[in-house]
């Protein structure tokens, strides 16, 4: 994947998040790193920065001193604890006496799990440093936040993204037209990883990349299913809307919260009265909460679809 091919290897190669990179460089110089929280929107270089930091600290064989865990892949804090224990038990050889542990999507951990994590962090603080990666630092519990140096990653400026894409396109011999470039940047939404993925997908058609190609491949990759499901429900066909939902959950393997997020963005684009948008947004908020509390994602989401059916009916009645 081009996202990986063009991922910076060392802090010196990172051109964005300047201030953050400078602070990280000072850690490398001091051969010492505190526990860190890297927070910010997706595709702004959080994981990259963590990997670069490790690279610069330990040199080329850095993987030996590094462990990556993804909180949403691991089931339960026990796995995390055990893994960390094994990993952190042995000291790092070399002039840096600790290892680095990257915990991605840390904001997906329950607060109980985070409490346990905090204890683990403390226990192994001499032999391991943690870098927690999160979209919202607000979901990290206070005791962990106060033990970590905070780093806030921000959206990359559009010119940077544009330069990056142009560079990759040239390097890969992609014929990239101006309107194609614009479309890629727009659809990327400030997320560099997504933007590069779109470029690569568009390039894979073998045709010169213009806006039309870009929209077409993104359209294929983002099946209109969610929108279609919503419209089916608005038209009053609950059973088919439910079938579509089931397909998204089971066939595409999407998480309930991801589907809900997509529904949320689509609502604003729907052609329904403003009043109903507001109502539906409220119900989405409630559903969001229930997905966390409930046990069956499909039931929670189809209850939302039933609300769409109701809305559709009232709209047709001129409500």
């Amino acid at each position: 994947m081009w996202t990986e091919k063009y991922r910076p290897r060392s802090l010196d190669e990172m051109v964005d998040q300047e201030e953050i990179v400078n602070r990280l460089k000072s850690f490398v110089k001091a051969r010492n790193v505190p526990h860190c929280i890297f927070a910010g929107p997706p595709g702004t270089g959080k994981t990259t920065a963590a990997l670069c930091l490790a690279h610069d600290l330990y040199g080329p064989g850095y993987q030996e001193h590094l462990m990556e865990l993804n909180a949403s892949d691991e089931r339960g804090i026990n796995v995390v604890r055990e893994t960390v224990k094994t990993f952190a038990r042995t000291r790092s050889i070399g002039d840096v006496p600790f290892k680095i542990l990257i915990l991605d999507e840390a904001d997906n951990m329950t607060s109980d799990a985070q409490q346990a994590l905090r204890r683990t962090m403390e226990r192994y603080t001499e032999t391991a440093r943690f870098i927690l990666i999160a979209n919202y630092s607000g979901r990290i519990i206070e005791p962990i936040q106060s033990r970590c140096a905070p780093f806030r990653f921000t959206y990359l400026p559009e010119e940077h993204i544009r330069k990056r894409i142009e560079y990759i396109a040239e390097n890969e011999g992609v014929v990239l037209l101006e309107d194609g470039l614009k479309a890629i940047i727009e659809l990327g939404g400030g997320d560099l990883r997504r933007t590069i993925n779109i470029l690569q997908t568009a390039a894979s058609t073998g045709k010169p990349v213009d806006a039309e190609t870009v929209y077409s491949v993104v359209g294929k990759a983002n099946p209109k299913d969610v929108r279609e499901m919503m419209i089916t429900a608005l038209n009053g066909d609950f059973i088919n809307a439910r079938n579509k939902l089931r397909e998204l959950l089971l066939k595409y393997g999407l998480a309930g919260s991801d589907i809900l997020g997509q529904i949320h963005s689509e609502v604003f684009r729907l052609n329904i009265p403003e009043r109903w948008k507001v109502k539906i947004i409220e119900i989405i908020g409630e559903t969001d909460y229930r997905l966390l509390q409930g046990s069956n994602e499909e039931i929670q989401l189809s209850a939302l679809l039933a609300k769409f059916v109701e809305a559709g009916e009232e709209i047709r009645k001129g409500g």
Binding site: F238, R246, G253, G294
Partner: protein, 407 residues
Amino acid sequence: MHLPWTLKYKPKTLSEVIGNEKAKEKILQWIKEWSRGVPEKRALLIYGPPGVGKTVAVEALANDLNMELVQSNASDYRTAEAIQRFAGRSSQYGTLFGRKRLILFDEIDGITGSADRGGLREITKVIRRARTPIILIANDPYDPRFSTLRKFCELVEFKKPTMTQIIKLLTRICSLEGIRAERDALKVIAERAEGDVRSAINDLQALAQGKDKLTFEDVAWLGRRDRKEVIFNVLRRILYSRSLTGALRAANEADVDPDMLLEWIYENIPYHVKNPKELAAVMEMLALADVYRGRATASQDWSLMRYYIDFMTAGVSASWSKKSPGWTPFKFPSRIMTMSKSKEEREMLREIGLRIGRRCHISADKAAKDVIPFLKVIFQNNPEMKDGLARWFGLNEDMVKFLSGEK
């Protein structure tokens, strides 16, 4: 005689096994191949619902052909070592006295991941090297755990015998026991058995043993096994009962697992509740019920389950006018079917997600959302890029096919 009738009237030869003529034919053909050397598929996987005569057929076959039947089932340990000990040698040679050997792995659904670690893999190994015929029996052969195993087996399905066949069998038993049975009584038993011959015989014994006469009245009271009529009745009472307590009592008195009951209600609601406003209200109740299911699980406090039941029954009942568009039959929860059908696919998706995650430093969930959709487009557009990426991610053939939409 103290023998249960299922044993007493157990078929001695294959021809006595009722129904399933095609399957029996297939088994015989396969076993005959062995006399001409090792056939292409060294194992037979017989599958079908409980009580249709799968094990009995194999035992009768061994008896018919004077083969030594060596069998292992769920009441035995079946770890890799146990399988090795049991089948390792015997799958290679015949018996001392020249009798042919037939190896039976029965009830392979019962091989568990924890207590029988490595068991399935070892069975596959044994099959691949087998020099004697091996038969496997399962209820559900499409369980993803058997996907590798299946490739090395010839599949034979045992179907439920017809009601007429079962009645015939029951009549025969009655006459041998000296019982004068009304045909209607036997019909009830056969109907209730739903193709499960064993349970039909059990029922017959429970009802008729020690009598010389079996009437329709004698059978009417017998407890039902967990069958559809029960749940239909409960559903009807929940959806259409006049009072909340009626709906609630339907669930409490029913012999139905609440989780399954929720699935039934959820499946059937849109076919009965047609008014959009009421539909939304009823679905809201199910969502609320589910919240309490989640809370009970999370807190391990099962007293919260009472709200789960309340909302799925009384809550549903109170939320609509009970004016149905007419007579609508109840449907089996299709979510359950879709889930089990798509299980393999979902596991594949997750495995792909994990492999992508390892390379791209993201979680499997994120990969499913952010990378796989693009990958699918690339795989369909560009064979060259496809090969490169497949190699780089370490995807196997099935995964590539899956992503290319060829499967």
